[in-house]
Symmetry: C2
Subunit: 309 residues, 2 copies
């Protein structure tokens, strides 16, 4: 153990369940979080796959309060708190720290494109300086395919030098292993925890000294992913990695968020689980049938599905 408590292992950007009228369903959200924690999955609520950027700040704060009130362990929570507008990022980050969250996962401001590292440095620094709380642990969120605003190695270097206590790690969702490898080599030895952005890179990341992964499919395939995290030194690790990849690939034939929600709706018998907020769209009947077939082919099981119903 280092002097500070570190977040490690498998985390999931927790799916946000909606009612048919598109309002969030806080009760199902609590049950889903409880189900994930029971399977040793940490809670990266309000991530990309949570449709977090389709939620208002007030909705996110309400859902977070609900989790804490329901006894979800705050130390397992790594809410997404990055936003285009600094006041929003500050408000969410402050609320997360006040709630005792183990860390926050922070997108850069993502509307303006082609911005400089200096501008992004100021954005992160303003949040950290304004929240001004020693408990704050920031995990940077590098997801250029979606945000279109990358977090470069030189930006990490500068932030880590300026805020060695607050800057705790990164989720690398670039899909570019050479980038993750560079982060592992340069920053992981300084206690900057590198999380792979999907389980596809889990084994490679652990072999490189990384902290685990934060992965969409943690929502639906938690057991096997956590098992690889715990037993990655075993002889059959590569075989297990291949099995994880096959399950992920079955989902990834479809838009991921609607597909994961459709799988839960199918296995729980609760059709409202399939609801997504615009601009996302539910899978149509043909896609659903194809998803079911693809999941059957890889032997997909949603454990203890009734806990999510």
């Amino acid at each position: 153990m280092t002097s500070r408590s570190r977040m490690q292992g498998v985390f999931s950007p927790v799916l946000t369940p909606f009612h048919a009228d598109l309002s969030p369903d806080p009760d199902r959200f609590v049950r889903h979080c409880r189900w994930l924690v029971a399977q040793d999955v940490g809670l990266a609520v309000f991530g990309t796959n949570s449709e977090a950027n389709s939620l208002s700040v007030a909705e996110k704060r309400g859902l977070l309060d609900g989790l804490v009130a329901a006894g979800i362990p705050a130390g397992r929570l790594m809410p997404g708190t990055g936003a285009c507008a600094l006041p929003d990022a500050i408000e969410l980050t402050r609320a997360a720290v006040a709630a005792g969250c183990g860390g926050v996962l922070m997108l850069p401001p993502f509307y303006y494109k082609g911005v400089s590292d200096e501008g992004l440095y100021r954005a992160f620094a303003t949040v950290i300086d304004t929240v001004a709380d020693d408990r704050l642990r920031v995990y940077l969120y590098h997801i250029p395919p979606v945000s279109q605003v990358p977090i470069t190695l030189s930006l990490i270097d500068r932030l880590l030098k300026a805020y060695p206590g607050a800057i705790a790690g990164i989720k690398d969702s670039s899909g570019d292993w050479s980038n993750t490898a560079a982060m592992l080599e340069r920053f992981q030895p300084q206690g900057f925890d590198v999380f792979a952005g999907s389980e596809n890179f889990l084994l490679a990341n652990l072999r490189g000294g990384g902290a685990g992964c934060i992965t969409a499919t943690g929502n639906v395939n938690p057991g096997p992913i956590v098992r690889l995290f715990k037993q990655w030194r075993d002889d059959d690790a590569d075989t297990r990695q291949s099995a994880l990849d096959a399950t992920r690939a079955a989902f990834a034939q479809f838009p991921m968020i609607p597909a994961m929600k459709a799988a839960i709706a199918w296995k729980t018998g609760r059709p409202d689980w399939a609801t997504v907020r615009p601009p996302l769209v539910e899978l149509d009947a043909r896609q659903q049938s194809a998803l079911h077939a693809a999941l059957d082919r890889v032997g997909f099981v949603l454990p203890d599905a009734q806990a999510l119903a």
Copy 2:
């Protein structure tokens, strides 16, 4: 005149003045809007060049209330109300309609990329159906270089058929004249008003039957742009268009928002006008000198600059 009052002419995404602590300066904002209206420029407050996506919903509502309270004519206001999260877009749109704004300029939800026209249709439809007010006039905001989420011709067609009263027009900031020309041909005859996204295409747009332009440089070069709008049938129109292009090019050598703010800071002698919110960064001293030289070369004048000080 058609049966509904239409917004036409030159609009500007109004720059948002900040204090040194990065909070908005509502008094300078009112003065800037008053200055623009006096020069016949409409007020597309909370646009891209307003750093609107760096403002919280509460900040935008406060600034809008301040404009109306100060007597800025609401019919000249076309606030940006699009947002990633539908509740935010609904709240801002409802506030704009309640304030009597002539229209709203609506970005699509822009975090998730590669989304379908069906998903974007549902996003716009949800806002219109929820606001549910006959006074609502929506101008779609197509700016793929920044939002990375385009508004296609088929999406416009579908929205216009479903909401012929509410869907009023578009700002085309694609920078692709063939796209603007296609919109003019297909939709302008239906009373769907096409605004060019910069004055570079003002003359072409007017010759094609369009409604005007919504342009960043309206903030700093209003007179000549409005003159071309009013006298575009005159013999010297092409010469005037060339002069507008030269002034814009002088700004566009630099990041546009910091450059326009730097020009106002220079001409008013108020250095705080240069302040931008992260992730943007002010021009450095070398860039400022280069900007001053470039503006002097094109004979740039900021009329009645002291009204903005």
